[in-house]
């Protein structure tokens, strides 16, 4: 059962559990989520009924763990601001399924402010409109870890702009930051611009980034078709292949199944 969020809400979570919220707001809504020390939760935040602006303010106390799937299927323009603060050894696993039917913007800032804090950010985007995504991980303490994975398909007249930044400050020794971004543009009018950045002011760190943006080659499509797949079937297969890695980021099997069914549906709608 899901709970409706239609006004500013503050949630202080002191018990482990699973939470499911549906945002219904056409204006501005703020959700404060605070996890107390050692608490472990997972959940689904559904933004299908959201428009305007949604603010997510998340704070994880020492050794708290949060595994969250945010689904954006908004039908109207939506801006999401996400600000997350992680204390000592807190773990924040956030997966964004970005399938909005209107233009959208997201600015996510993650502050790994104490030793051992960890961020796992996975984004899967199916973009047929304008989408502007900014994701920044501030690694302000030693032995912090940030993984930022972004997989996307841009179709029709979609325009994706993404800035992905990992910042490791001086003194944050032993920290790790990995960025992986793969974007496929399908169609002559689809476009993508990605700016990956690693801003590092400490020597004892491990950091890497990999980025690929490209179109499906004619030869690849021919290869798939030569095994009996129609053009639509081939494109569906390739698109799912790009988006499916997000499933591995989800620990809850019911969330995995829910998202997998949604991916199948979205891809099938595009290539019938």
């Amino acid at each position: 059962m899901s709970e409706l969020l239609d006004r500013d809400t503050q949630l202080v979570v002191s018990r482990d559990g699973f939470y499911h919220y549906e945002v219904q707001s056409q204006d501005t809504l703020t959700l404060h989520l605070c996890l107390e020390e050692g608490v472990s939760v997972s959940g689904l935040l559904d933004l299908a009924g959201a428009a305007g602006e949604v603010n997510l303010q998340v704070a994880l106390a020492k050794e708290a763990q949060c595994s969250l799937l945010v689904l954006n299927q908004s039908q109207k323009p939506l801006t999401v601001f996400e600000e997350v603060c992680l204390k000592k050894k807190a773990v924040y696993e956030i997966s964004y399924g970005e399938f909005a039917a209107a233009k959208g913007k997201r600015v996510s800032a993650y502050h790994l402010s104490e030793e051992g804090a960890a961020l796992n950010l996975h984004t899967a985007i199916l973009c047929g409109h304008e989408a502007d995504i900014t994701q920044i991980a501030y690694q302000n303490a030693p032995a912090t870890e940030a993984q930022l994975s972004t997989y996307g398909i841009v179709v029709e007249e979609g325009k994706l702009s993404a800035a992905i930044t990992g910042k490791i400050v001086k003194g944050a020794s032993g920290s790790q930051c990995q960025q992986k971004t793969k974007i496929l543009t399908l169609g002559d009018r689809a476009g993508a611009k990605v700016i990956p950045q690693l801003l590092i002011d400490e020597n004892e760190v491990q950091a890497s980034h990999g980025l690929s943006i490209g179109q499906l080659e004619e030869a690849s499509l021919y290869y798939l078709q030569s095994r009996g797949l129609s053009e639509s079937e081939a494109l569906r297969l390739v698109a799912l292949g790009y988006l499916k890695p997000i499933l591995h980021s989800l620990k809850e099997s019911k969330l995995q199944a829910h998202l997998e069914a949604l991916l199948q549906k979205k891809v099938s709608e595009l290539w019938t």
Partner: protein, 269 residues
């Protein structure tokens, strides 16, 4: 008994005519070797039969069981029973071999294949081709060695059970042992499905393992000689020169175009 018939096939790629009237008939249970010097149209013929969009048939026709397939899409031809084992198989990131093969099998079935029979068939084919067990979960040809790619082509052939398999230099990149494994898998499909094979290879060793019933030599876009396995042996021993001279064929070497240096000067309009 199925029949693949090529009649007077002329094929252009961009502005260049590559095939200038090729005719041949391939029946179920026959193994045809297509030989000839490099760059004379062997791969073009195979790609044109499969319906590659870059190859334009300007004259002639292709029939499968007396039905013209010249205007069919690539996937239609595949579903009708044609299979092309490619010289350079594509790497497709994000798509696992298992997902791809399941989709390819389902494309030619009314009811999707159930998971268990699919896994069983995939495991058996993987074992037959001597490939690693993690193949199903690896992305399609991504990071595969040349030999692995060729084995994977034949693994697909094993699972898709074509009426006619067109194999374009499927033996290149294979070591001696791998060649035996691949040849054995090809022959298994050939025997089990009684399919027809049209094979392009430069190596007599491969034709010793998969013995052709018919041999065609293609040069300058036409078939200049036909025969049985002894023709392949003769070519393997003596090369093409004598054969070309006997048939009065001179291979035209394309003049290399002069490389023009670019300029940073702005042209005045």
């Amino acid at each position: 008994m199925s029949r693949l018939t090529i009649t007077d096939l002329h094929v252009r790629v961009e502005d260049k005519e590559i095939l200038k009237g090729v005719s041949l008939t391939l029946k179920s249970g026959e193994i045809h070797a297509l030989m000839g010097p490099n760059g004379n149209g062997k791969s073009t013929l195979l790609a044109a039969i499969m319906g590659h969009p870059r190859y334009t048939v300007t004259q002639g026709d292709i029939f499968l069981d007396d039905v013209s397939i010249k205007d069919w899409s690539v996937d239609q031809r595949s579903k009708a029973g044609l299979f092309l084992g490619m010289q350079t198989p594509q790497e497709i990131s994000g798509v696992t071999n298992a997902d791809f093969l399941k989709a390819a099998i389902n494309a030619r079935r009314e009811q999707p294949i159930a998971l268990f029979p699919f896994i069983k068939a995939m495991e058996a084919a993987t074992k037959k081709l001597g490939m690693k067990e993690d193949l199903a979960h690896r992305f399609l040809n991504e990071g595969f060695s040349g030999g692995e790619k060729k084995r994977n082509e034949i693994l697909q052939m094993v699972l898709l059970k074509p009426k006619f398999a067109l194999l374009d230099e499927i033996d290149s990149g294979l070591d001696v042992d791998a060649l035996k494994v691949v040849s054995s898998a090809i022959l298994d499909v050939y025997k089990e499905e009684s399919c027809g094979l049209l094979i392009v290879s430069h190596y007599g060793r491969f034709y010793d393992l998969v013995t052709p019933t018919h041999v065609h030599v293609l040069a300058e876009g036409v078939i200049i000689a036909e025969g049985d396995k002894s023709l392949a042996d003769q070519i393997d021993a003596k090369g093409y020169d004598l054969l070309l001279k006997q048939h009065g064929v001179e291979i035209k070497k394309e003049r290399e175009k002069a490389q023009l240096l670019g300029t940073c000067a702005r042209s005045k309009k």
